[in-house]
């Protein structure tokens, strides 16, 4: 159901989003919002937890840069039960990661409201900073707005690869989604997807509106392009893996890597000195650090079902391994086996946490 909330429209999308969040806080429908914000110094945005509506100036969820997958922050925020209601404003990949983490019992969602928004994609941090510096003083807000315009006009080749491959760039599994793609003015619309979402806009003056036809057309056009891109395969997996220095960056930034006791931690992957020598003697040589392929294979096996393809691993990789694409391709393959889509809904059970008695007969490939 799509709602138009009165008094939200500002001069641009950012201001409209700000006005909407302002209404949420003022109406006391929520006690705090978590949202990305610009700071006077520093070339980035960061998630801030705001309780005072006066601090909503300079929020910038549309800035084409993503420092962390905010699901990690939501996890930190919700680890103990609180009585305040928290609304987290998240990119669609963060919405999906949050839903996966709720299913994995890593996030307490009783007081959590998930607000998604149409995401125009992001640059890698390095590219973002470079482009911002070269943007001739249009300022950080100006940069975001001009980026949004170029997204709407269909340009997007230099964004992060996982964004180019992303086919879930609207937050339709969030409690509500702030929709702006396909809006003719600078107004935003509120798509309500759950009862929780409905309670979020309770008491706000607004009206229900019908389907946004232009929006759907725009979205479908982007989807078609991206689906075509998804057809590319990974041709040189082992070659890429040769570059890995096992720095664990990709594990640290992954929102879904949540185990406290990691099977792949350095102490478990390494060997004693004499064992290195024995292994080297066996084959004549071994590549150091050892087991980089094993590390990734195991990680992929563990993550494949829940990977939301946010691409943070790729951004964090110092060796420029295209992990975003690798995880996107393998993730989709694994998920397709069980018709599972991470973050689609809280009701879909995790494929590894459930089973059907009558399935996968073919896995027993050696019969009498």
């Amino acid at each position: 159901m799509v709602w138009k909330i009165q008094g939200v429209e500002g001069e641009n999308y950012l201001e409209s989003i700000k006005n909407f969040l302002n209404q949420l806080l003022k109406s006391k429908n929520v006690d705090a919002v978590l949202v990305p914000k610009r700071f006077p110094d520093g070339n980035n945005t960061a998630q801030v937890l705001i309780t005072d509506p006066g601090k909503l100036d300079d929020i910038d969820p549309l800035a084409p840069v993503q420092m962390v997958n905010s699901a990690q922050i939501v996890k930190e925020l919700t680890k103990d039960p609180v009585k305040e209601k928290i609304a987290s404003v998240l990119r669609p990949c963060e919405v999906r990661a949050t839903i996966e983490l709720i299913k994995l019992k890593q996030i307490l969602d009783a007081r959590l409201y998930i607000i998604g928004y149409d995401c125009p994609g992001v640059y890698n941090v390095k590219d973002y900073i470079e482009k911002l510096e070269k943007s001739n003083g249009i300022g950080k807000e100006g940069f975001t707005l001009s980026y949004v315009n170029s997204f709407l006009s269909g340009k997007q080749d230099t964004i992060r690869e996982s964004c180019q491959l992303c086919t879930h760039f609207t937050g339709n599994s969030a409690d509500i989604n702030i929709a702006w793609v396909g809006s003719n003015s600078s107004d935003v619309f509120i798509e309500v997807n759950s009862e929780k979402g409905q309670s979020l806009i309770e008491g706000l003056a607004g009206e229900k509106i019908g389907d946004l036809i232009e929006r759907n057309q725009k979205i479908n056009k982007i989807l078609d392009e991206r689906k075509k891109r998804q057809e590319n395969e990974i041709d040189d997996f082992l070659g890429f893996m040769q570059r890995c220095i096992r720095c664990y960056n990709c594990r640290e930034v992954c929102p879904l890597c949540y185990c406290k006791e990691c099977l792949l931690k350095p102490e478990k992957m390494g060997y004693s000195s004499d064992r290195y020598l024995r292994r080297a003697t066996k084959k004549g040589q071994i590549k150091m650090p050892v087991d980089t392929v094993l590390y990734h294979l195991t990680k992929i096996n563990h993550m494949a079902f829940s990977c939301v393809s946010c691409g943070l691993c790729e951004q964090a990789c110092p060796m420029d391994i295209p992990l975003g694409r690798i995880y996107n391709v393998f993730g989709r393959k694994a998920q397709a086996l069980f018709d599972y889509e991470p973050g689609r809904s809280l009701d879909d059970e995790l494929p590894v946490a459930t089973f059907k008695e009558d399935e996968l007969k073919e896995i027993e490939d050696v019969k009498e």
Binding site: V352, E359, I363, V366
Partner: protein, 148 residues
């Protein structure tokens, strides 16, 4: 392998190293039965007993292959018969992804197998091992050919 076997000019087959992970309650007992019934099967398999096939982690399989095993077999109770009710239902799903991803990593699918062997199926165990050995051998030979 008998003397005449050598003399007949047939190629001597390379000994393989296949690691079998067998659940304690069914397949391990099945393999035991095969032994006590004096059934013949290739000696290319090394058996590791696991409490339940559900204990298997993809890392265990990958580690074997990486350390030089020619193949891996995971064997448990028949679906529905797991001693812990559900272990084999879960592992079935987990191993399915592994099997599907192996090829990308340059590992022939035929090096990894699963089977369900009960405690009374000594004969089936012998058959399973024969088939696995054949399959792994095919995979190895093909690899040598393409590599050469």
């Amino acid at each position: 392998m008998s003397r005449s076997h050598f003399d007949s000019g047939e190629k001597v087959k390379k000994k393989l190293k296949i690691i079998g992970f067998l659940c304690n309650w069914c397949s391990y007992a099945g393999a035991d039965l095969a032994g006590t019934s004096r059934l013949q099967y290739p000696a290319d398999i090394r058996i590791i007993r696991v409490p339940c096939s559900g204990r298997m982690n993809p890392l265990l399989v990958l580690k074997c292959l990486q350390e030089g095993a020619d193949g891996v077999l995971v064997s448990g109770c028949h679906p529905g018969d797991c001693h812990y009710q559900e272990g084999n239902y879960y592992v079935r799903r987990r191993m399915l992804i592994l099997k599907n991803l192996l090829e990308y990593f340059g590992i022939d699918k035929r090096r990894f197998h699963m089977s369900w062997v009960s405690a009374s199926e000594g004969a089936k165990w012998a058959d399973v091992v024969k088939k696995v050995v054949e399959d792994v051998r095919d995979a190895c030979e093909e690899e040598v050919k393409t590599a050469g």
